[in-house]
Amino acid sequence: MFYIHCPYCAEQRSEEEFHCMGQAHIQRPENPEAASDREWGEYLFFRDNPRGLHQEMWVHAAGCRKFFNVARNTVSYEIFETYRMGEQTSVTAGTTAHGREGQVEQVHKVRRVRA
């Protein structure tokens, strides 16, 4: 059960509040009529299935209903970062080595509470 930082609600919420919408950054062809059948078919049906870093789109369905992007490791399920629509990821395949500092500041930081 993932713990996902919604970049709009600015906090981590449980996976059951979210839907995964598949690969992120799929560009709809600017002019679909000009796209060849092949190009259009690739836009519709072809998706990456990487082992390792994957950029995904999620929606905070039970929360703020905003769509956002998640950089996630498909093997360890580690979430490197989440970022809003229109923003660029700061995570690339080269920067996801384990033990990397800083990038994951928003992850695994649950409420720190003085009881």
Partner: protein
């Protein structure tokens, strides 16, 4: 039975509170504080089960979760049956009723007993796979014979809780490491949860020989537990097993809340307590203090009752006051194995010998054993147990571990108990639930957890066994995990622990026998799954080299056992056979759940009428009072039909309801349709991109039907959208598609066209919608509204605002029946009032409530599609013959348009929607029936489509259907066939899908 093995004093049981229980129908006795296992041993019960594959008698081996044999079926009544309970984990209560899971021979057991030498690994695959046609039969028999217990056949009378928890530090295991960690974290002020699977917190300290601060360790435990219990920020959960460690530090804890109290959860103040609770914990940090399991030694006939783990022998003596035999032989290869002998001797029973595989040893416990004059035999091991239903002796021989052979003649010692210990295996199970592989450490001869974010293994779980180090490591991990949560200056003073001298342990994973493994008597590696050393050797010889394959071929570590006792020995034996190191061989991955979890606890409150949400419209009670039969549409309860009395059949009710609408007037509750309020300057533009048809010219005051596709050109939803004002529209969606469509609109707006000024708000629940439809609709509505209903001013596809029954309403003149229709929308609070008023006025017009079934018949007569019935995600607007609803020339390439010219979507022979009229007019084709062109062709026939909707039409007085048929639109007038099971074939004619009023005159009156 008498407690023949019970000591007169000692242990943590309460001899003042005796308990009675039954085992396989026999009455037994025990004490409060016993587990079922300790009580069975006290009563002298040797055989607790028959083994799964070979049907061999089996006794209790362990004292904790790792117990492979004492798996019980509990329950005094049918409804309270619980399978798969480990006797070692079940607290004894008065009246407990236990049975062996596999008390005597079943089918497989018979095979097992007679042919056991012939059951090789892969037995099931080899024996039962051929002939393939018999597999179904075999499978049933195997499942019946091999099952580990059974479910109750009656409804569980108890209830179960769920609780969602968040904490800074979750400490799993309340032994020395866990207690120290929880105390350090707790004192800092962090939110801490400490759970432990046993009845009492304290773990090994509850019966340890070691002293803390010069006192019994249990004194320190009591003080720490008391302090933790007093902290508001700490939740203590004894009797609670951490069963699964999932992604991002999500842990499931299974609390057996009242399972120690009785067959059913007790009542307190008239409230039935929960039987169990499942905690869903999100932890920022996890301290894994699960300790270590003792490894048994693998020697011949090590499964005969009376073969126990050395540590379990100590636990039964020290914690439960039970000595499970008279004469003990200990076989070990490290210092801790000696503890059992010391405890046994202190209890006043005879220690025949301690057999140590090492050449020499001089640790603290060895010195103590020597000082007590115990018989120690070095460089040797028990190579074979004697006896059938109970150990009668031990054959020992000197061995060479490196060469894997015996080096001298065997001799036999007479004894009734053999305690073996091959060392410890860290309990790494939870750490590998998220797929990370434990790492072999040669220095501790065990696998330890791989590095995982947010997880810190401490103590035995990472191979630290010296008590002082365990406490220190626990405290440090607890403090570290709590950093940032509160007061970091808090610290804990660790108790003084005497550092004991220990010698080096020897890795001994299989004891050599005089005969080679394949010919020696069975040497069991996994007792629960009946996997022997020979089976593993055979598997490697047959070419299974990857350890995951060996596991699957032999069943090693399968099922509820999850390799707790046998895995490491099994891996090591495979490594030896493959001539490689254990590190290279690796280990299999353990899976959740660590121990079995009751389904009740998994379901929690989500059962019976709370299993799934039931969504009600504002008129639900009215429908109920009218005797409606309800249909589930998604989560909605919609009236299906309204039998006029309890006897009217569905068919008769639907005929009556259809006639009422076609001839008089009917009322449908359409409140479940999705409704989305859309505002903004760019709504028209947005609708034009989302819908297949045009919205530029829709005038204020008008409504239009729209079809929505995905970008692959397939229809995803439909509905009527109304222009309320230039910047204000109301979209309706299908009942089931409401949430999906809203998300769809947001998706395109947020990700592709954020520049458009448009916003969407669900108003599905806000408006109640009553459809008044039929020739008398106008006259009825006119009685209760101030709206001018004149046919020329309030026309088809118009809407008006006015009062209906004294309630402000928006009325749409749209029709899903083909009749004159008004859809009255009021704020839902007033729906009941409006509905009642309509029916007060409706009698004289024959106003009849109708349900979804009649709605379906009426719309199908008109050829109106239902998305999800006529469509299935592979149907284009053109397939539906709805080209009239497609804006081919709209400037923006709307969602789905480009796909309509893909080669696949232009094929002439695509399945297209048509009407079907059965040749036999009284036949109602089956929905889903396959269609063929030629009924004479040989089977398998070429299927060319299927029936999507089919009803009897009271109006037309014949059956009719909608169907998808290949190239159907050009086949009007042709004949197709539906071959049904039973050899009947129905013939039908392809016709237009519009069966009734094709010109649409009736809705325009």
């Amino acid at each position: 039975m008498n407690q023949v093995n019970r000591l007169a004093k000692g242990g943590r049981i309460d001899r003042g509170r005796p308990l009675t229980f039954s085992f396989n129908g026999q009455t037994c006795h025990g004490y409060t504080g016993d587990t079922l296992a300790s009580a069975l041993l006290a009563n002298g019960v040797d055989i607790v089960n028959r083994s799964f594959k070979y049907s061999r008698p089996r006794g209790i081996v362990a004292a904790g979760a790792e117990e492979p044999n004492a798996i019980m079926q509990l329950g005094a009544t049918e409804a309270t049956q619980v399978p798969n309970v480990r006797a070692t984990q079940q607290a004894l209560f008065d009246g407990l009723c236990a049975r062996s899971t596999n008390p005597h021979s079943g089918l497989l057991s018979t095979i097992g007993e007679l042919f056991s030498p012939m059951i090789p690994p892969g037995f099931y695959y080899k024996t039962f796979m051929a002939p393939a046609s018999m597999w179904m039969t075999y499978e049933k028999l195997i499942r019946k014979a091999a099952g580990l217990g059974r479910s109750p056949r009656e409804i569980d009378p108890d209830h179960y809780e769920h609780s969602k928890q968040h904490c800074d530090v979750l400490v799993i295991g309340a032994g020395p490491a866990g207690l120290a960690a929880a105390l350090a974290a707790g004192r800092s002020g962090a939110r801490v949860i400490l759970c432990d699977e046993q009845e009492e917190l304290g773990g090994s300290l509850l019966c340890s020989r070691e002293m803390l601060d010069g006192k019994q360790a249990s004194v320190w435990v009591a003080a720490v537990v008391a302090e933790l219990a007093g902290m508001d920020n700490v939740l203590l959960l004894p009797r609670t097993t951490a069963n699964g460690l999932h992604d991002h530090q999500f842990v499931t804890l299974y609390e057996r809340r009242t399972e120690h109290l009785g067959d059913r959860a007790p009542e307190v103040n008239g409230q039935q307590l929960a039987r169990a609770c499942m905690y869903h914990v999100r932890a920022a940090q996890i301290v894994l203090a699960t300790g270590a399991h003792e490894r048994p030694l693998v020697y011949a006939k090590n499964d005969v009752p009376g073969n126990l783990l050395a540590g379990a022998v100590s636990t039964y003596i020290r914690r439960y006051g039970v000595v499970p035999g008279k004469r003990l032989v200990v076989s070990t290869c490290h210092d801790d194995g000696y503890r059992a002998a010391l405890d046994w001797a202190e209890a006043g029973h005879e220690v025949v010998a301690i057999v140590d595989a090492r050449e020499r040893a001089d640790g603290h416990w060895i010195e103590m054993a020597r000082a007590q004059g115990l018989n120690i035999i070095m460089g040797s091991a028990v190579i074979e147990a004697k006896g059938k239903n109970r150990v009668t002796g031990a054959r020992i021989a000197s061995i060479d571990v490196a060469r894997f052979q015996t080096t001298g003649p065997a001799s036999e010692l007479s004894c009734d108990t053999i305690a073996s210990s091959g060392g410890f295996s860290p309990v790494v199970h939870l750490s590998s639930h998220t797929n990370s592989r434990p790492v072999w450490r040669e220095d501790i001869l065990g696998f330890v957890p791989a590095e995982l974010p947010g997880l810190t293994p401490v103590g035995g779980a990472c191979g630290v066994y010296a008590l002082g180090d365990v406490l220190k490591g626990g405290a440090e991990a607890g403090a570290e995990a709590a950093i940032g949560c509160g007061d970091t200056s808090a610290s804990i003073d660790l108790p003084d622990v005497e550092r004991l001298k220990t010698g080096e342990a020897l890795g001994l994973y299989q004891v050599p026998h005089e005969k080679p493994t394949l010919r020696a008597p069975k040497q069991f590696v996994d007792l629960q799954n009946d996997v022997t050393a020979a089976a593993i050797e055979l598997a490697t010889r047959e070419g299974f080299e990857a350890i995951e394959h060996v596991k699957r071929y032999t069943a090693l570590g399968f099922g509820t056992d999850q390799g707790k006792l046998g895995n490491i020995n099994g891996m090591a034996i495979a490594a030896r056979c493959l001539n490689q190191t254990i590190a290279d061989t690796g280990t299999t991955i353990f899976r959740p759940n660590y121990t079995p979890v009751g389904f009740g606890a998994i379901a929690g409150r989500h059962r019976r009428d709370l299993f799934d949400p039931e969504r009600y419209t504002a008129l639900h009670e009215w429908h109920r009072a009218r005797g409606a039969k309800f249909e589930d549409v998604g989560q909605w309860k919609r009236p299906w039909y309204f039998p006029s009395n309890n006897e009217e059949t569905m068919h008769d009710a639907v005929v009556r309801e259809c006639r009422a609408v076609r001839e008089k007037v009917g009322m449908l509750d359409a409140s479940t349709l999705g409704k989305i309020d859309i505002q903004g300057k760019d709504v028209r533009e947005f609708l034009g991109r989302i819908y297949t048809n045009g919205w530029e010219k829709l005038a204020v005051g008008k409504a239009r039907y729209g079809l929505m596709c995905k970008d692959d050109g397939m229809v995803m939803d439909d509905g009527v959208t109304t222009c309320l004002a230039d910047n204000h529209f109301l979209m309706t969606t299908t009942t089931g598609g409401a949430a999906r469509v809203l998300e769809w609109l947001e998706l395109w707006h947020q990700t592709e066209w954020p520049e458009l000024d448009v916003s969407f708000t669900s108003v599905t629940d806000h408006w109640a919608t009553m459809v008044i439809t039929g020739p008398e609709a106008r006259r009825l509505l006119a009685e209760v509204t101030d709206i001018d209903l004149d046919r020329d001013s309030f026309r088809f596809m118009d809407w008006r605002v006015g009062m209906v029954a004294g309630v402000p309403a928006r009325v749409y003149r749209i029709s899903f029946t083909g009749e004159l229709s008004y859809e009255v929308n009021v704020q839902a609070h007033y729906a009941m009032h409006v509905c009642k008023t309509l029916f007060q006025h409706g009698d004289k017009y024959g106003l009849t409530p109708y349900g979804t079934e009649t709605m379906h018949v009426l719309r199908a007569e008109k050829g109106f599609i239902i998305v999800g019935q006529e469509t299935d995600g592979s149907v284009t607007p053109e397939d539906l013959g709805m080209q009239w609803c497609v804006g081919y020339n709209k400037p923006f390439s709307w969602i789905g348009k480009r796909s309509l010219t893909r080669p696949d979507t232009c094929r002439e022979d695509r399945k297209q929607m048509v009407g079907l009229k059965p040749l036999d007019e009284m036949v109602v084709l089956q929905e889903g029936a396959q269609i063929v062109f030629d009924p004479q062709q040989p089977i398998p026939m070429t299927m060319v489509g299927h029936v999507t909707s089919s009803y009897y039409s009271p109006t037309l007085n014949h059956g009719f259907a909608l169907a998808l048929v290949k190239g159907g639109q050009k086949r009007i007038g042709e004949r197709v066939y539906c071959p049904m099971t039973g050899g009947v074939t129905h013939a039908a004619e392809i016709v237009s899908p519009i069966f009734y009023d094709p010109k649409g005159e009736r809705q325009n009156v």
